[in-house]
């Protein structure tokens, strides 16, 4: 460890900083830092903790709104959903640890995000996970996939928070660097939100939960803020080990403690451990902190001050209590058999002073650690590959003769195939709130004691963002919002996890900036402010960067969960099937970056589907109004695999009595392209069968309804200026699709469902 060695000639390198950054530290302190202090700066000024590369771009995101109680900068964002209830939610990455040790890496990712939520005083009610791996034909990727899913389940199931949603995609670009993004949502009384602030001179600083060991040292600086090489596995000791049982006790103890009124502020110990928790609490509260390391309960002896400050031992929280209430804290934690040790106190001034055996081992301004990291405007350059992907000529692409065969291949593609192999390893029922389970567009939870519900989803398409970061990022927001709307909810707010390659490469920086612009634009247009999130850079192994992958976590509210909750599955024979939104059919508009292009033609090319945010918002309004009016029996957004896959999924049926059923669909030759006027049915000469069936044109929702409601639905669509076309009827045992009167697909639903259902279990055998 750096602190234990004699000062080297280039001490900054040992903690992952640059010479310039070292000079800045000397300037802030007015002297060279000692080795412990340098270690603290190394952590807090790492990319992972300081956001030094992303900070200036992130300022472009809209973060305010009438419902926002807490935006970015705290442990989690908080939005007011009415009835005196607030929702705390956040998404975070645990990519690098999961690549090195998939089970524990993913498990501790879940553990960390749970603590962020209960640090706000909220009880976690849902977990969602957005995952990316290399293709499943490779053994290592199956091992990673299985391990990550096992770790998420292992932690969430034992802790007792349902995992209700998420997504999984498989692309070669993630084979050296999988993505594991975990989102957590919690509930808190609107006026009982707690913050991670150290205030009140003389108040005790109390470390609660697990004991501190040598695990996870350098997780933030060396794991999360560096790219991988072939020696990545040697960093396995930097991965923490999770104990969900202890975290469950910690949750109950913390919530019990918050009810006593003894707490001023609290925060969780995650990346950068005590260093981050203490400096951020002090800096947010405008106070200083004094920490006596001899008081920190440890699980091993002989730890240096440096190791205690840097440890990333899991399941720990830092509490600032009111002076004189220490015994209340001890009593609650003793009930749960947990440690609660007074390790310091809040001081005036703003310095973080660390003592060991009465000796000061570090003394630095807390704000210098938490806020004064340099901000970089790294150079950017448009990636060269874009010239080629943009110039792709769809006219040269043959239209397959066997379109039913294409549908079958898409349904069995792991990106689209049934994910029950994943979510059946997660307890998605606990807490008895799950109204709509995993498998539909968004999970829906009821909120006990109110009529309301929450709709939750995550979304992100790395291929789209690779082909056009700005458009792809906007699509991620639009699709997340659409999922929530299809479930009967009004989209409220967004948390995001931005997974990118090495930002020191100008092409990555270009991707990153355009992505943030796209997110900002879409969040503004759809009225969903960003309340927090996480940036994960250096997702690169041996020079190979991942697709730029922003993952959007979105929270929506159902006015009346009993009335409005809607699933994607067709319900009754004889119901009408209608498409809200444009019919599509033009290859250059809908096929770029599509699953069809990848699976059938082996291509990642073109531009992502065109997105008109104004049209998107009109479609959302029309769909939500129709749902609230009781007209809609099912609603499913059109995304991966296009209209044909969407229709097949709607036929497959859901849990319980929602049995599979067929549908007969008649599509016109082509409809208005995105942005076209509602009802404009002039055929485009550029329309093609493959683009009609498998194009991923945006702003589209397939709904089913009782024929008696058709006139009212038409009126609502017209009033909202949203295109609407009745395209068929629910019924029979087969999915039949005809285009311009010519049958193009006819397959028994049972056969399609079997292929879709068995694809992933078969690959994982």
């Amino acid at each position: 460890m750096a602190a234990d060695r004699k000062a080297t000639a280039r001490p900054w390198e040992e903690v992952g900083l640059t010479h310039e950054e070292y000079g800045r530290i000397e300037g802030l302190l007015g002297r060279p830092p000692n080795p412990v202090e340098l270690g603290l700066f190394g952590l807090m000024w790492s990319e992972h903790c300081s956001y030094k590369t992303s900070k200036s771009s992130l300022k472009k995101l809209p973060t305010r709104g009438p419902r926002v109680v807490q935006g970015p900068g705290e442990n989690a964002g908080v939005v007011d959903i009415g009835d005196g209830i607030a929702v705390a939610f956040k998404i975070e990455s645990h990519n690098h640890p999961s690549f090195i040790e998939p089970y524990q890496g993913a498990a501790t990712g879940v553990g960390g995000i749970l603590r962020d939520i209960f640090a706000m005083g909220a009880r976690p009610i849902a977990i969602l996970d957005s995952l990316r791996f290399g293709e499943l034909d490779e053994g290592k990727n199956r091992w990673l996939f299985g391990g990550v899913v096992g770790g998420i389940g292992g932690y969430g199931n034992c802790f007792g928070c349902p995992t209700v949603g998420g997504e999984v995609y498989f692309e070669p670009s993630y084979r050296g660097n999988p993505l594991v993004n975990a989102m957590c949502v919690g509930l808190v009384d609107r006026d009982q939100v707690f913050y991670g602030r150290a205030e009140g001179e003389g108040n005790p600083l109390i470390l609660v939960g697990s004991k501190t060991g040598r695990d996870g040292i350098h997780g933030a600086s060396l794991l999360a803020s560096k790219e991988f090489d072939e020696r990545a596995e040697e960093r396995r000791p930097a991965v923490q080990v999770g104990d969900p049982f202890l975290e469950k006790l910690l949750l109950e103890a913390c919530l019990e403690l918050l009810n006593t009124g003894a707490v001023v502020g609290l925060t969780d110990l995650g990346a950068a451990g005590l260093t981050s928790a203490a400096s951020e609490m002090a800096s947010r509260g405008g106070h200083g902190l004094e920490i006596d390391l001899d008081k920190v309960p440890r699980r091993e002896t002989g730890m240096t001050p440096y190791e205690v400050m840097l440890s990333e031992s899991q399941e720990r929280m830092l509490v600032v209590a009111r002076a004189g209430r220490e015994d209340d804290v001890r009593r609650v934690f003793a009930k749960w058999d947990l440690d609660a040790a007074v390790v310091g106190r809040v001081t005036a001034g703003g310095r973080l002073r660390v003592l060991e055996k009465g000796r000061v081992v570090a003394d630095v301004p807390a704000a210098a650690l938490a806020k004064d990291a340099p901000v970089y405007e790294r150079p950017e350059a448009e990636p060269a590959y874009l010239d080629k992907t943009r110039a792709f000529d769809f006219a040269a692409l043959p239209v397959p003769a066997d379109l039913a065969g294409v549908l079958v291949r898409l349904l069995a593609a792991p990106d689209i195939a049934d994910k029950s192999w994943v979510y059946q390893q997660y307890d998605h029922f606990i807490l008895t709130n799950t109204v709509v389970r995993p498998g539909s567009d968004a999970a829906v939870l009821r909120l006990k004691g109110t009529r309301r519900g929450l709709a939750l989803t995550t979304d992100g398409n790395g291929r789209y963002v690779y082909l056009d970061p700005r458009a792809g990022a906007a699509i991620a927001v639009a699709e997340a919002a659409r999922n929530v709307v299809c479930s009967g909810a009004e989209p409220l707010a967004v948390t995001n996890c931005l997974n990118f390659g090495n930002p020191e490469r100008p092409e990555i920086m270009w991707q990153f900036r355009r992505t943030v612009e796209g997110l900002a634009e879409a969040c503004r247009a759809l009225g969903t402010p960003v309340t927090g999130g996480n940036v994960s850079f250096y997702n690169e192994t041996l020079g190979e960067n991942i697709y730029p992958t922003p993952v959007i976590g979105l929270v929506g509210v159902l006015e009346d969960v009993e009335r409005d909750q809607t699933t994607q599955w067709f319900k009754d024979e004889g119901d009408l099937v209608a498409l809200l939104g444009p019919l599509g059919g033009v290859p250059a508009v809908g096929l770029g970056g599509s699953e069809y292009l990848k699976v059938v033609h082996g291509l990642v090319a073109g531009r992502p589907p065109a997105l008109d945010l104004d049209l998107e918002a009109r479609v959302h309004r029309a769909c939500l109004r129709a749902i609230r009016a009781g007209l809609v029996k099912s609603a499913h957004d059109v995304s991966d695999g296009g209209l044909a896959v969407t229709l097949a999924e709607a036929c497959f049926g859901g849990p319980g009595e929602n049995a599979p059923v067929g549908a007969a669909i008649e599509l016109p030759a082509a409809g208005p392209v995105a942005g076209g006027a509602a009802g404009d049915a002039t055929s485009s000469p550029a329309a093609r069968l493959d683009a009609i069936l498998f194009g991923e044109d945006q702003s589209r929702i397939v709904v089913s309804l009782d024929p008696a409601g058709a006139a009212r639905l038409r009126r609502i669509a017209a009033e909202e200026d949203a295109p609407l076309t009745v395209i068929g009827r629910v019924g029979g045992q087969a999915l039949k699709i005809a285009v311009a009167g010519r049958p193009v697909i006819e397959r028994p639903v049972a056969a399609l469902k079997k292929l879709w259902k068995e694809a992933i279990p078969w690959l994982m055998k």
């Binding site: 202890l246 469950k248 606990i430």
Partner: protein
Amino acid sequence: MRWAVVVFPGTNCELDCHHVVADVLGQPADFVWHKDTSLDGFDAVVLPGGFSYGDYLRTGAIARFSPIMGAVEEFAAAGRPVIGICNGFQILLEAGLLPGAMRRNDNLKFRCHDVHLRVENAATPFTNRCRPGQVLRIPIKHGEGNYHADRATLEELERNGRVVFRYVAPDGAVTPAANPNGSLNNIAGIINERGNVLGMMPHPEIAAERLLGMEDGRPIFESIVAYVEGTAGARWVPAAAARARSRETPGKGGAADGR
């Protein structure tokens, strides 16, 4: 009547069990901390699911030593109703209040999905509101629900109507495909010899409300109310209880049970 919902460290279905009893059925219910030693004043006891003590050893193996378990044993010995769900079932096995043991699911994975249960004995304190042979749809969520017992115990359970629930296909047929975890004889729930202690792996508490899409778990709680309040119809008199005096095979666990 008053319900006790016992909470061990790591129990995580206590809120759900309390919710069903208190909010859905409107019955008085209290949480009882595992360090308590008395169940005085209670008429029914629920041992909820979860991961008591993290289940880092055998499931339920440590919880059986919690102070409250002495009171649970007395409560059971007095013939009063005790229901153990999932981890609660595992604890009852470890405590020897029910015979047999749990192994890991045969696919070695945690499994969370709906299963269909056939009511094999509708004359118990826990099923008197069900029809014999009725098929209930209730979810499971566990990693160790693979019920095992020696042949003599199994035969005794089967002969005396002590297998209360069996995993079946939606049409009620006992098939290997309907068995989610490898349990012998597709066993999902059993009662003790006297008939007042039930252990079941599926979770009736998450299947008790129309809004959640599943209501088949509610009759199990309603049956307990009917039993305690004396409004249950036929009471089950274990036919063989008078004859067979064979003691329960205590769930000794140990290495042979595997994990």
